[in-house]
């Protein structure tokens, strides 16, 4: 047993080293930047938290709230959309679910920005929808872009696979017998869902929700391309601070705040999901 543990540690070393270098080091670097005094471009200094003060006082919280709020909305919508779809993939469709998987995965072959531009052309004034409508009926409207719902729509569209596949995996973990037994014991369709399917598929639900939430919270392209200037998301603020603003400490501090919030939520969520059972069964 003791020897197994040592061996395990030994095998984990290369990957641990890689993760420390490629994942942890950049975060530490950003953390170091965030405590850099303004207008001094050097890492050799005493920590200075004025950038965090700026984050708290200059209304950046609005961007954080928008980002998290829209991420939450997108996650909730995705869960509702993907549950029946994933259910079909896991339990009903059989071979056809492979076709569905390929269709969904194929969209990932095209860059996110290009796909979003496709939606811009579809939704904009004079675009696919509004243009044809005006052509046929003579009555046009302002186009469907540049508002909050369209940003959420973009998030839902882009991150669908990240909800769909973990959810299908989670639903596949619910044994048919268990569902039928609950039904046989007098449960209605809704009670089976609430008492058996949702709890037993919870690892899949949590993984899917975390992936979509974390990705959506850090998303930038949807709000820029589809949302225009309707709202400014936190990732946009970070980019602006690093580029136009040339205020690296501020950008780094904003990034750290986002990492702390999203990381906290992710760790809380993963702590509740029994990932081991998900990997071991099926």
């Amino acid at each position: 047993m003791q020897r197994d543990r040592q061996l395990g540690l030994f095998y984990a070393l290369p990957l641990g080293g890689f993760l420390a270098l490629a994942f942890l080091a950049p975060i530490l670097l950003v953390a170091a930047f965030s405590t850099m005094p303004p207008k001094v471009f050097s890492l050799a200094h005493l920590p200075d938290f004025s950038a965090y003060y700026t984050v708290l006082t200059q209304g950046y919280w609005k961007s954080v709230v928008w980002s998290l709020g829209m991420a939450l909305a997108a996650t909730a919508i995705l869960f509702v959309i993907c549950w029946p779809l994933a259910y079909g993939m896991a339990k009903v469709l059989g071979r056809f679910s492979l076709v569905l998987t390929i269709c969904v995965v194929m969209t990932l072959f095209v860059s996110e920005n290009i796909r979003l531009f496709g939606w811009v052309l579809t939704l904009m004034k004079g675009g696919l929808i509004e243009g044809y409508l005006r052509h046929w009926t003579g009555a046009g409207f302002d186009g469907l872009l540049y508002n909050v719902p369209v940003i959420v729509f973009g998030l839902v569209y882009v991150y669908l696979p990240f909800m769909l596949f973990p959810l299908a995996q989670g639903i596949a973990m619910v044994p048919d017998d268990t569902r039928q037994a609950a039904f046989d014991l007098g449960a209605t369709r809704w009670q089976v869902l609430r008492e058996v399917e949702l709890p037993l598929a919870m690892p899949g639900i949590l993984v899917g929700s975390l992936l979509t939430f974390v990705l959506s919270a850090g998303a930038i392209a949807e709000s820029k391309l589809l949302g225009g200037q309707a709202v400014i998301v936190i990732a946009d603020e970070v980019e602006t601070a690093f580029t136009y603003g040339q205020n690296w400490p501020l950008g780094a501090a904003l990034a750290m705040v986002l990492i702390a919030i999203v990381g906290g939520i992710a760790i809380w969520g993963i702590g509740r999901a029994d990932l081991d059972s998900m990997m071991a069964r099926k």
């Binding site: 044994p175 017998d177 268990t178 039928q180 037994a181 609950a182 039904f183 046989d184 014991l185 007098g186 449960a187 209605t188 009670q191 008492e195 058996v196 709890p199 037993l200 919870m202």
Partner: protein, 354 residues
């Protein structure tokens, strides 16, 4: 047992595309009966029970619970309940929550639910402190009992079992078979049990229904299934059996006494003799049915000896005798075997025409 059947099945048929799993089944089950449906895998027994429980819908025919037709009623509205082969316990709930599940669905107050769950733990001889245990902390036999308790909490009119003991080891299975029979007696409920093991059925049931290729081959009390099977299939289902082809009252290579000759006069079919009905005759001894055979192998079964022999007229024979009656000589010896005419049974089925 009441007079009116609690369950009546008329012409029940189930087709899957071009395969017919059940061919117009008829069955009556009495109130309080323990009926076991036995059949090899693929005989349609699981299909049948899924129709009876309501998980699947029949293609044709009707199911009546007393005076109420239930084949159109979905499983969650039927007053019946099944213990699944996999047990289908809820792994995310405690033992207590599992047992209380059907009561919770009926909005029984928590205190009453708990009291009932504890009663059921007592009934199934599980310690009361199992109430708060997780399912994965229970052993196989304990899970069985929890699944049973959950089904009993539902208080079904009929309790169905789909081979719930098949995954357990031999000794535990034997214990639970007896417990189940005892539970049946104490609860007075109607049990319909499915298994592929006729031995399991023999221990527990009032009546046994033998199923073969989507039809009932024989429905009779256990004793009768064993002693008077209607076909070679039923005869061969339990343990070893010796089958002899009889044509016009004669079996080639077998000497029949005048008594046996008059009993089987002119009849054709399959003569069935159970291994324990045969005895080893002394050199000068005679019996109603008599033949010689050479011992090919011998097995010690504790208190009994079993022999495989090659009969003079061809074919192998199995004999089981008490150890003190063991054959002299061992493997290679020729012995005479005999049995009284009343100990054998003539199956009307003509030996395999092919």
């Amino acid at each position: 047992m009441g007079d009116q059947p609690i369950l009546r099945i008329n012409g029940l048929t189930k087709r899957f595309n071009d395969f017919t799993a059940l061919h117009s089944i008829d069955l009556n089950v009495s109130e309080g009966e323990f009926l076991t449906i036995v059949g090899p895998s693929g005989s349609g027994k699981t299909t049948l029970i899924r129709l009876l429980v309501g998980i699947d819908e029949p293609s044709d025919g009707s199911i009546w619970l007393r005076d109420r037709r239930i084949d159109e009623v979905p499983a969650n509205k039927r007053p019946t309940c099944m213990v699944f082969q996999s047990l289908a316990l809820f792994p995310h709930r405690t033992v207590g929550q599992n047992i209380e599940f059907p009561l919770k669905l009926r909005k029984v107050p928590p205190a009453d639910r708990r009291a009932r769950a504890l009663e059921l733990l007592d009934l199934l001889r599980l310690p009361r402190d199992y109430y708060g245990k997780r399912i994965d902390q229970c052993s196989g036999g304990e899970r069985q009992r929890v699944a049973l308790a959950r089904a009993l909490a539902f208080d079904p009119e009929i309790l169905f079992f789909d081979e719930p003991l098949s995954a357990l080891d031999y000794r535990l299975r034997k214990t639970l078979e007896k417990e189940l029979k005892d539970l049946h007696r104490r609860t007075g409920k109607t049990f319909i049990y499915i298994t592929h093991s006729l031995e399991e059925a023999m221990v527990m049931s009032d009546r046994i229904a033998i199923m073969r290729a989507g039809r009932f081959e024989q429905i009779a009390p256990a004793e009768q299934i064993y002693a008077k099977p209607v076909s070679r299939f039923v005869a061969g289902f339990m343990g070893e059996v010796n089958l002899f082809d009889m044509t016009a009252g004669q079996v080639p290579g077998v000497t029949l006494s005048p008594h046996a000759q008059s009993r089987f006069a002119g009849q054709s079919g399959t003569l069935m003799i159970r291994p324990e009905s045969l005895s080893i005759l002394p050199p000068s001894g005679t019996a109603d049915i008599c033949f010689t055979a050479v011992i090919e192998a011998e097995y010690l079964l504790g208190s009994r000896m079993q022999y495989t022999l090659r009969r003079a007229g061809g074919g192998t024979v199995t004999v089981e005798v008490l150890r003190e009656d063991a054959a002299q000589g061992g493997v290679g010896a020729e012995i005479t075997l005999g049995c009284p005419a009343d100990a054998c049974h003539l199956i009307a089925e003509v030996p395999d025409a092919a």
